[in-house]
């Protein structure tokens, strides 16, 4: 999809490359802008998200072992379940929300009950303990990020956008989670990343919009 937009910056990660990151990024930024201008026609045509310029930047996240190796791919890709079916608060709140265990059990009290991962889940359910999931995506406390407003802009108030394609909007910041099992952080989610996207999509630009 927007692989066309992948730039050399993709190889630069924060680890051991701070110098490069610090000094090359501004020029990479301009490269990105040029690439965007050249590639925007193609990107728009292929993307399921109209009226949007996806943000640019990658990050090579750590492997985060989870209590249950949750397969996002089985759910979102193979079975085509909408992200917001489980992350139900995304459209209504600043946080997307980890699905309540009762939601998992809604299906898994009958589906795939013999699989080891489901057995483990059932065990948590019966012990009345939610699985201790580990946080993969976060922004610092001084950043006010809200899922609600972003979904409004790119999905619900976005003319021509199909809600079924919401995963492509999620992917702006979370990467192609539907190709992953447990989530990996693949986008930098730092201020430059936010700022470039706000610039390209004419999002608000006042300091206090995010730092309040």
């Amino acid at each position: 999809m927007f692989n066309t937009l992948q730039l050399p910056s993709g190889h630069i990660t924060h680890r051991g490359a701070r110098f490069v990151n610090r000094f090359l990024t501004p020029s990479l930024f301009w490269l990105a802008v040029i690439a965007l201008v050249l590639g925007s026609g193609a990107a728009r045509a292929e993307s399921g998200v109209p009226n949007a310029v996806p943000p640019v930047g990658t990050h090579k996240g750590d492997d985060v072992p989870q209590p249950i190796e949750f397969p996002h791919n089985t759910h979102a890709d193979v079975n085509q379940i909408n992200c917001m079916y489980c992350h139900t608060y995304a459209r209504r709140s600043k946080v997307a929300g980890i699905p309540p265990t009762s939601k998992c059990m809604g299906c898994h009290s009958v589906i795939a009950t013999d699989k080891p991962r489901i057995k483990k889940l059932t065990e948590y359910w019966e012990n009345k303990e939610p699985p201790p999931w580990r946080k993969v995506h976060d922004v610092p406390d001084y950043v006010h990020f809200t899922h609600e407003k972003h979904l409004k802009r790119f999905v619900f108030d976005n003319e021509g956008m199909q809600v079924e394609n919401v995963a492509e909007v999620c992917a702006f910041c979370h990467g192609e989670v539907k190709k992953m099992t447990v989530a990996h952080k693949v986008k930098p989610l730092n201020m430059g990343f936010c700022r470039r996207c706000h610039e390209a999509n004419e999002g608000p630009f006042d300091c206090w919009k995010c730092h309040k």
């Binding site: 608060y89 009762s102 993969v136």
Partner: protein, 733 residues
């Protein structure tokens, strides 16, 4: 169009370039602060229907950070209280909340909370079970009866006070000591004697001139948030004039149109001189006053008063002029006027101005009788702590229950409470923190925080519409082994087999029942459940107070010809909205909020006039030793013009020996070295009359002061130019 880039455009361009350059640094990886997989994110097992994670739910409650009783709204997210705001439904604070109120969350989440019951075994306190602690109290209390038992508390009201009374009466005791070092006890007595109402309603909003003698009504006096709301109305057009007369500038003083420094103890002379100046223009003003009062007014002409008070004569004239021109006015007295051997007389002289200016019934209104006398606030000052010390001396007490008050910290050291408390067989502390008094207790009962407990509160100062403030838990208790005050009281009552309490499973059940028992007139036809639900939702319950009226009787009072203190310097133990009497010293937000006058953070300081500093050869930052007959303290000097040269002010609040990691070992406590002088008529501590000597000890110590300059250097807060000037210099707009 010209191609010239003028200076303004150049700056604009540079400005944007600058932003670009700054923002380039924002590609720093956020992993500097965040790492993946280090934190857990817990989901609900089954979601609550009305809870959306990330979206706050607001609950109403009542602020417990000072006795003013403001209503608050707590924002609760995912079961945790995050932010407090004022409750607009409360007539006390009308939607506002002061910094101490805001910082209530840090009292609640404070890492130094006591989390388990403790008992003294040998020399130290040992963790015990609730059963053991309560059984111990009950068995000890079996041998105690009559006045050998006492409560020692800060201001208490509502149903908690009802349960405290029930327990006290079951023991047969009449003793309940209430101690507040920040109080208005002397004024309450004068009000009672002159107006027939200890706490009349004051209308700052109606006054056109306010003359305040050390009443820091925007900071620490009676009901600061309520006063601030009324003050805003007072300052609206036509703008009211504020005159503040005091030895050390308070927050209110800093807002005054005319701030007058007077020699400590001479506030009454200033007041009488104003009366003198008023009567010079209009002799009829003094008609109807007792002869003695007339003589006192005549005694202080401007020249004499100016000599005694140290205030410029023209300031007395100006004040009298404003008062004569603008009516109605309001004259109030605060700590620095009350805290002398002749405190009562000083306040009476000040109140005399209200009488001759006709303010009584205008800006001073009757508060009316509160319909539920059992719920009204038990207030107090410093007299009770001295009576308490006397009772200890005479070995009159076998058991004392402490709640809220910390007298070992907020009473002068020479009262010797620390040792005298050893004479009491059973000292029980209902406490959230290990403060100086709790540390000496025999049994320590860990209490819920104000955000976890139930309660009802009736503020001593009722602002117009009288209310009962409802306190409800904003979240589940943080610690399993803490309990609610009402719950513990019910347990103790049941253990003592006091009839009438067996039916209540907990304090919540008791309150539900108490609300059902309220008269139908309050319920507006609602069922008991609806009535309770709406009380919780609104956070306040309005009650009608009976009319009541005020008298304008001038009491018999006298002042020494020259009431100024004799010694070289008078110690002013100043109070501030922030650390208050020291109860908030364990709250980091309040420690780091700069003092409103000196801008010092996390520390104590000694304020002195530049002239005094020159005489002593010290500068801001030098350390001095302040010695009274009862001990000495050391603090860094802060040189400032907002103080009388004869006064040295040290703020209250710091100097804790214990009280958690944020408070312990920080600064000094001026209350410690106060002399045990008392006001002749009320017996209250004359806390502004201690004479001290000052000597320099060290040069320049470290002291953190926010703000580099004391004045605006003649600059406006917002620069403005007139349209004329603009057109002349910038051309047509």
């Amino acid at each position: 169009m010209s191609n010239k880039v003028n200076r303004r455009d150049f700056l604009k361009i540079m400005g944007w370039g600058g932003v670009g350059a700054t923002l380039a640094g924002c590609d720093m990886p956020t992993t500097v602060t965040l790492e993946e997989g280090k934190e857990e994110v817990t989901s609900y097992m089954i979601p609550e229907e009305y809870v959306i994670p990330g979206v706050g739910v607001y609950y109403a409650s009542t602020c417990q950070q000072c006795p003013a009783g403001c209503g608050l709204h707590g924002r609760v997210r995912e079961g945790r209280v995050l932010k407090l705001e004022g409750n607009p439904e409360s007539p006390i604070n009308r939607g506002r909340l002061c910094q101490m109120g805001q910082a209530g969350v840090q009292a609640h989440y404070n890492p130094d909370r006591i989390t388990r019951p403790m008992m003294r075994k040998g020399s130290g306190l040992t963790t015990v079970s609730w059963d053991e602690a309560l059984t111990h109290i009950q068995s000890k209390m079996e041998g105690v009866s009559g006045d050998r038992f006492a409560w020692f508390t800060d201001t208490v009201s509502g149903h908690q006070a009802v349960l405290m009374d029930a327990y006290r009466e079951a023991v047969g005791s009449s003793r309940h000591y209430v101690h507040e070092i920040i109080n208005n006890s002397v004024s309450r007595q004068v009000n009672q004697d002159m107006l027939g109402d200890p706490q009349p309603r004051l209308r700052f909003d109606k006054a056109r001139v306010v003359l305040s003698f050390g009443a820091d009504f925007l900071g620490t006096w009676q009901s600061p948030v309520h006063n601030a709301v009324e003050y805003a109305a007072f300052r609206e057009a036509p703008r009211g004039v504020l005159v503040q007369v005091e030895p050390k500038m308070t927050l209110t003083g800093a807002n005054a149109d005319l701030w007058v420094a007077v020699r400590p103890g001479t506030e009454g002379v200033f007041a009488l001189a104003v009366a003198n100046a008023l009567s010079a223009k209009n002799p009829a003003m003094l008609d109807g006053l007792p002869d003695k009062a007339k003589q006192l007014v005549r005694r202080y002409d401007i020249k004499k008063a100016s000599r005694i008070t140290g205030a410029a004569g023209e300031h007395i004239v100006k004040t009298a002029g404003w008062l004569a021109e603008r009516s109605p006015s309001l004259v109030v007295a605060g700590a620095s006027a009350e805290g002398h051997g002749h405190g009562y007389d000083t306040v009476a002289a000040i109140m005399l101005l209200n009488v001759i200016l006709g303010n009584i019934g205008e800006t001073i209104e009757a508060s009316g009788a509160f319909p539920f006398p059992q719920l009204v606030a038990r207030t107090g000052g410093t007299r009770d702590v001295m009576d308490f010390a006397k009772a200890l001396d005479n070995k009159e007490l076998d058991a004392v229950f402490f709640r809220g008050a910390n007298p070992v910290f907020t009473a002068p050291e020479s009262l010797g409470l620390r040792d005298k408390l050893g004479k009491v067989g059973l000292k029980v502390a209902f406490s959230q923190f290990e403060d100086e008094t709790t540390r000496l207790a025999d049994v320590v009962l860990p209490m819920y925080s104000a955000m976890e407990d139930w309660g009802t509160h009736v503020a001593a100062y009722q602002a117009g519409q009288a209310v009962i403030g409802i306190q409800q838990p904003l979240m589940q208790p943080l610690y399993e082994q803490t309990r609610g005050f009402g719950d513990v009281m019910l347990s103790l009552l049941k253990m003592r087999k006091v009839p009438g309490y067996d039916g209540y499973a907990d304090y919540y059940a008791y309150l539900r029942d108490a609300f059902s028992a309220l008269p139908d007139s309050l319920k507006n036809g609602a069922s008991n459940d609806e009535f309770w639900a709406s009380a919780l939702q609104r956070g306040v319950l309005e009650v009608a107070t009976g009319g009541g009226s005020l008298t304008a009787k001038v009491v018999d009072f006298d002042l020494p010809e020259n009431p100024a203190s004799e010694g070289a310097y008078t110690l002013v133990p100043s109070a501030r909205l922030g650390l208050w009497d020291g109860r908030h010293a364990n709250i980091p937000w309040l420690q780091e909020a700069p003092d409103q006058i000196s801008k010092v953070v996390w520390d104590s300081w000694a304020e002195m006039h530049p002239r005094t500093a020159r005489k002593l050869g010290v500068k801001t930052g030098d350390a001095i030793k302040i010695t009274s007959a009862n001990g000495s303290i050391e603090a860094n000097v802060y040189v400032y013009k907002g103080i009388h040269p004869d006064a040295i002010a040290v703020p209250m609040g710091q100097g804790h020996e214990t009280y958690g990691r944020f408070a312990k070992g920080r600064g000094v406590n001026p209350v410690k070295i106060l002399a045990l002088n008392t006001d002749g008529k009320t017996g209250e501590l004359a806390h502004h009359s201690t004479q001290v000597q000052v000597s320099k000890t060290r040069v320049r110590d470290s002291m953190v002061i926010f703000g580099g300059s004391e004045t605006q250097l003649g600059r406006k807060i917002v620069a403005t130019v007139t349209a004329d000037v603009y057109e002349r210099t910038e051309g047509e707009a």
